[in-house]
């Protein structure tokens, strides 16, 4: 495209009062660009002006006004590149004149005096102009043929609900179920938890109505006695191979080499060809991931609703509770089986169990519930307590809990059960279960009734948890170079990883959505709601792929990573670091990108040492040129030149945080220059080197929290950035620069009050180090 540039400077919202916009215009005109100002570009008159400019042929607009996070829908012009220079939140509001006074007329005469805020505005305008010169309009990535079918793994309540929802939305669905019939666990219980108002009493299982609904939908096909051997390809064109459970076939998914097999005897990394050879030997009898099954079935998106299995206590794991020794101590799963068959009878002698103790937490030392427990196990204990009461008029149920979790309207259920005169609950620790004549004696401590007590029991039920099937095996069996399972980041105890606070249903694999008990222990009601969410995500994925745009979290982003393969050194860093397994590689180690798996975070771009991965509107060059556009005054310009510090800021949380700081007129040093980047994971160290070598005094990265409660939208970005920053320490030392000139900080989106301290402390630290010795070269 032939770019025709236009610079537009808004003087509204206090910009005009604070900044000399005429000087900004001069700046643009010096570059040979036309520049116009208006007091309110977002108003009708201002917008009409912009539209007439576009009609007049301008297709590359630099709009110096408010943050790009506001009015983005207004300042969108088809076929045009628009850069938003953030004068309002980033300069004027965050640097009020009360704290950063303008130059007086006298001072203006003095050439050694400068106006920090004006300088800031000018730099940002220059950076915006530099950027638009380097970026291109994105063109969508289109698949040759898009498949819109949705594969659902698991035919339980979750899978069936998801299937019905997707079918109702007009999509073809296949359910694959490993057992002979649909239904899953829901088909094996006496009663289930309430699913609608007033949420008070257990109800007969609704599973049959789910099965009926599935059978009524002509768009749903069901494949029982089958599992997924492998899912190859990418969203919109997954090739799926099915097989019978337990069968061994050549399209079983291969597993990545264990780390110790990836190096030679001396610990050196093997070359790509040897690695691939070893990989094929390791996976003997299985085809490589890039070999597509010619008989495979095509799908566009996948929903994983594999569900859970009951926790099986290890031998003697709960010996103090009599499990394994006393036959009448059972898990809640076993108890449900007994209840489903009829009256509650003791396994030992078939006698009626009229006094049943339900134990929610196994430990005396900690207050933890059983592993993989949750609100569901609390609710199930309440439900099972009512079984005893409905079976026997003089039945008694005791519940000893450390946590009684009944979220939402399930509180009504708790209240109702509580009203039963024969159900007794107390917080407390269970110390021991022992034989007592014909029955058992349960000893509890630290209860609400006192320090130690005894209860006689005919049966004891342990509230063991719901283990996600993904704990045992990958289930999805993706033919991805990073491996067949969702990557385990050691935070979710084997549950399918998803950042469930911000993005439920998302896994680390685009186009494959998890729902139900595979994500966390859930009630059937929750599973059904979860299923709807996952079905909608699958639909969103298909329709995004259809338009060639990103699904999540950069929904609608049309760019995708473009590899300049001629210069690729097959270092595999992009393949390994991509948090979403979007990049495979061939036998030679050359990356094979899968654009529809990609989330456009740019981690590959940040990782690539050859800098051959770029996006049309976000590239090594575009950011690099912005860095270079920052004016770095030296002693040649002023006796005491201001410091220049670059801030590379994650645009997901950290950049909004800065905007909110501006909105609240919270100010920070005017010597920093902020560049938003897609994710700290996309930060390429060349930008830091560029900044320092042109004389900037320091660089800081501002991104999301990482660690156990990570907030990175792309899971690992801020962590990867930290590793990269550590590694450039040596390079800095070789330039005789202090490592402290580069730092990384974490913020959450609501941390805006902390912004001044974070930035100003860093600026002070740099000032203490003194100016960059390369300044002025």
């Amino acid at each position: 495209m032939d770019k025709k540039f236009g610079v537009y400077i808004c003087t509204g919202c206090g910009i005009g009062e604070s900044i000399d916009t005429a000087k900004l215009c001069d700046l643009a005109e010096e570059e040979g660009l036309t520049c116009k100002t208006h007091s309110m570009f977002c108003g009708k008159e201002g917008l009409d002006l912009l539209k007439s400019e576009v009609e007049g042929g301008v297709n590359t607009l630099v709009l110096a006004a408010c943050s790009r996070r506001v009015n983005y829908d207004i300042f969108r012009f088809d076929g045009c590149i628009v850069d938003r220079v953030n004068l309002r939140e980033g300069v004027v509001w965050s640097h009020p004149r009360a704290q950063f006074p303008a130059l007086t007329e006298e001072e203006k005469e003095d050439e050694d005096k400068f106006d920090r805020v004006q300088m800031m505005a000018e730099d940002y305008l220059r950076m915006g102009m530099a950027r638009v010169e380097r970026i291109k309009l994105p063109e969508p990535y289109q698949l040759d043929t898009l498949n819109r079918k949705i594969l659902i793994i698991g035919g339980g309540v979750t899978g069936m609900s998801a299937a019905v929802d997707a079918a109702k939305a007009g999509y073809e669905v296949t359910i694959v179920e490993k057992e002979a019939t649909l239904g899953g666990y829901a088909a094996k219980i006496r009663k289930q938890l309430p699913i609608k108002d007033p949420y008070e009493t257990p109800i007969p299982p609704i599973v049959q109505s789910c099965i009926d609904a599935v059978e009524q939908q002509s768009r749903i096909s069901v494949r029982t006695n089958a599992v997924v051997a492998r899912i190859a390809g990418q969203p919109g064109e997954f090739t799926v191979t099915f097989k019978k459970p337990g069968e061994k076939i050549e399209f079983d998914v291969p597993y990545p080499l264990p780390e110790e097999m990836m190096v030679d005897e001396s610990g050196k990394e093997l070359d790509p060809e040897t690695l691939h050879q070893r990989f094929m030997e390791y996976n003997e009898g299985r085809r490589d991931i890039l070999t597509l099954d010619p008989d495979g079935e095509m799908f566009g998106a996948v929903i994983l609703a594999a569900g859970w299995r009951p926790y099986e206590p290890k031998k003697d794991e709960f010996a103090h509770l009599g499990f394994g020794q006393l036959p009448d101590v059972v898990t809640n799963h076993k108890f449900e089986e007994i209840a489903a068959q009829g009256k509650i009878l003791r396994p030992s002698d078939g006698k009626e169990a009229r006094s049943v103790v339900f134990i929610q937490s196994p430990d005396l030392e900690s207050d933890a519930d059983f592993d993989y427990a949750g609100a569901v196990t609390s609710l199930v204990a309440l439900k099972q307590a009512t079984y005893v009461r409905e079976d026997f008029e003089d039945g008694k149920s005791f519940i000893f809990y450390q946590h009684m979790r009944t979220p939402g309207l399930n509180e009504n259920f708790y209240k109702k059960v509580q009203q039963d005169p024969g159900i007794f609950m107390t917080k407390g620790k269970v110390a021991a279960v022992s034989k007592n004549g014909d029955g058992m004696m349960v000893e509890a401590e630290d209860t609400l009734l006192g320090e130690k007590l005894h209860v006689k029991a005919d049966m004891v039920v342990l509230a063991t948890g719901m283990v996600p099937l993904t704990k045992d095996e990958p289930v999805v069996n993706m033919a991805y170079r990073q491996g067949p399972a969702f990557r385990d980041i050691d935070l979710f105890n084997g549950y399918v990883d998803s950042n469930f606070i911000c993005f439920p249903y998302e896994t680390q694999r685009t186009g494959i959505y998890a729902a139900g008990a595979v994500r966390r222990s859930m009630t059937m009601e929750e599973c059904m709601e979860d299923a709807s969410g996952a079905a909608l995500k699958a639909v969103q994925c298909l329709e995004s792929v259809n338009r060639g745009v990103s699904v999540h979290p950069r929904s609608g982003d049309m760019t995708f990573p473009d590899f300049f393969f001629q210069r690729c050194t097959q270092c595999k860093r992009c393949t390994q670091e991509c948090p979403f397994g979007a990049i495979d590689d061939d036998a030679k180690g050359t990356p094979k990108p899968n654009p529809t798996r990609c989330r456009r975070c740019g981690t590959c771009m940040g990782a690539c040492p050859e800098r051959i991965i770029n996006f049309s509107d976000y590239s090594i060059d575009s950011i690099g040129s912005m860095v270079k556009a920052v004016g770095v005054p030296s002693e040649d310009d002023y006796t005491e030149p201001p410091f220049r510090i670059l801030g590379l800021v994650c645009e997901n949380d950290a950049y909004p945080t800065l905007d909110i700081a501006g909105l609240n007129r919270i100010s920070y040093s005017a010597d920093v220059r902020i560049i938003p980047i897609r994710c700290l994971g996309s930060m390429n160290v060349i930008w830091i080197k560029d900044a320092l070598s042109q004389g900037m005094d320091g660089v800081f990265l501002l991104g999301c929290k990482h660690g156990d409660d990570y907030q990175c939208h792309f899971v690992k970005g801020s962590e990867l950035a930290e590793i990269r920053v550590k590694k450039i320490g040596d390079a800095l030392a070789s330039l005789a620069l202090e490592e402290e000139r580069v730092a990384q900080f974490e913020v959450a989106i609501d941390d805006y009050p902390k912004i001044p301290k974070i930035i100003n402390d860093f600026v002070e630290q740099i000032e203490a180090l003194g100016p960059n010795p390369f300044k002025g070269f």
Partner: protein, 377 residues
């Protein structure tokens, strides 16, 4: 504290407490807001949180012989602040009600006093007694003439033949009940770690009782109540009304039997002043109680509550009206009212150990025990 406590819920007990006005007890989820809110609960093992769970588990042994249920004055602060609407104040009242029945003997009588359908029988009993004894002894003159003197109608001899044994009956029933009650509350305090006294020393216990009496008279605990502050006033009026009338009765008993001076006594007599003031106090106090109970829709009012207030009002009203009609010269009306008054007085004494009024004894003993056992109350 017992090393291990075998929990055996008594669902029958639980259901009875529910029936006595504690129907909300199962709503408790043990947040302990009640124990924090209670203005009079001690810091060590405060009530009513522990009583609430014991009730919802049907643990009769932890409640019936528990002095703490008597330390509660039913202020209602806990009930107002309870986030679950479990009304601990009402539950405590229901437990007390159960405890009164539990300690009273004969059991059948206790149960009868609790039932509204037995009320005609209970009131019919003294009526019949007066008529029959009157007929046998000839101490009732069914057609008295001349100046209105109530002794002409029912002789003071007959009156005392009825009331004195009734009082002795009440004392004996209480004595038997208290013997078990004190043993139980002591055992409960030992089990729960509320006291370090191993045995009950009678002399020390009496000293504690003497220390507690002024507090009861001053209603110093009752007036700490936040929610039901106005109840302290009406309770005090009824309380002192009864005390005043008890003193007056005592003095006139002495005057009659020792000095042989018969009533009616002059209105100028200071004792008569006391009688009138106490009577008015009783009437106004009990009327206020009725008004408060009717206004407080969030508080449970059971038959036993109404029975006691009703009796107090009936006693006061019939007493005052008897006097007024006598002074007004309405002979027939005055004698009739006097008869009714006498029936209520008899009922008061005979049914005292079984009715809610028994709290006068149990609460006093429980407070004395708290004082004795070093429980900071």
């Amino acid at each position: 504290m017992t090393d291990k406590y075998l929990v055996e819920p008594d669902i029958g007990f639980l259901n009875e407490v529910v029936g006595l006005g504690g129907d909300t007890l199962k709503k408790c989820y043990q947040c302990a807001t009640c124990s924090v809110a209670c203005p009079i609960s001690p810091d060590n093992k405060p009530f009513p949180r522990k009583e609430m769970i014991a009730a919802s588990w049907g643990l009769k042994d932890r409640l019936v012989g528990n002095a703490d249920v008597w330390l509660c004055h039913n202020c209602g602060d806990c009930t107002t602040l309870c986030p679950r609407d479990a009304k601990p104040g009402d539950v405590m009242a229901a437990i007390r009600s159960y405890a009164i029945t539990e300690y009273a003997r004969p059991k059948g009588m206790a149960q009868a006093v609790n039932k509204i359908n037995k009320l005609p029988m209970l009131l019919g009993f003294p009526v019949a007694l007066i008529i029959i004894l009157g007929a046998i002894t000839g101490l009732v003159n069914w057609s008295p003439t001349g100046e209105i003197v109530h002794a002409k109608f029912i002789s003071t001899w007959l009156e005392d033949i009825l009331i004195i044994p009734a009082s002795i009956f009440a004392v004996v029933v209480f004595a038997l009940g208290l013997k078990r009650f004190i043993a139980d509350i002591h055992q409960n305090a030992l089990d729960a770690g509320k006291t370090d006294k191993e045995k009950i020393d009678a002399a020390e216990f009496l000293k504690a009782l003497v220390r507690v009496i002024p507090r009861i008279l001053k209603h110093s605990k009752f007036s700490q109540c936040g929610e039901n502050e106005e109840r302290a006033t009406s309770h005090m009026m009824v309380f002192f009304g009864f005390i005043g009338l008890f003193i007056v009765t005592g003095i006139f008993f002495v005057v009659l039997y020792i000095f042989g001076i018969h009533g009616p006594y002059s209105q100028l007599n200071p004792v008569k002043w006391l009688a009138n003031i106490a009577g008015v106090s009783l009437v106004i106090g009990s009327a206020l109680m009725i008004k408060n109970r009717l206004a407080k829709t969030d508080q449970v009012s059971t038959y036993k509550d109404w029975q006691l207030i009703g009796l107090a009002l009936a006693l006061g009203l019939t007493g005052m009206l008897t006097e007024m009609t006598r002074l007004g010269g309405a002979a027939g009306l005055s004698y009739t009212l006097y008869f009714i008054h006498l029936v209520f007085v008899f009922a008061l004494f005979v049914y005292l150990p079984f009715s809610k009024l028994a709290h006068l004894v149990y609460r006093t003993v429980a407070m004395a025990y708290a004082e004795y056992s070093g429980r900071k109350f």
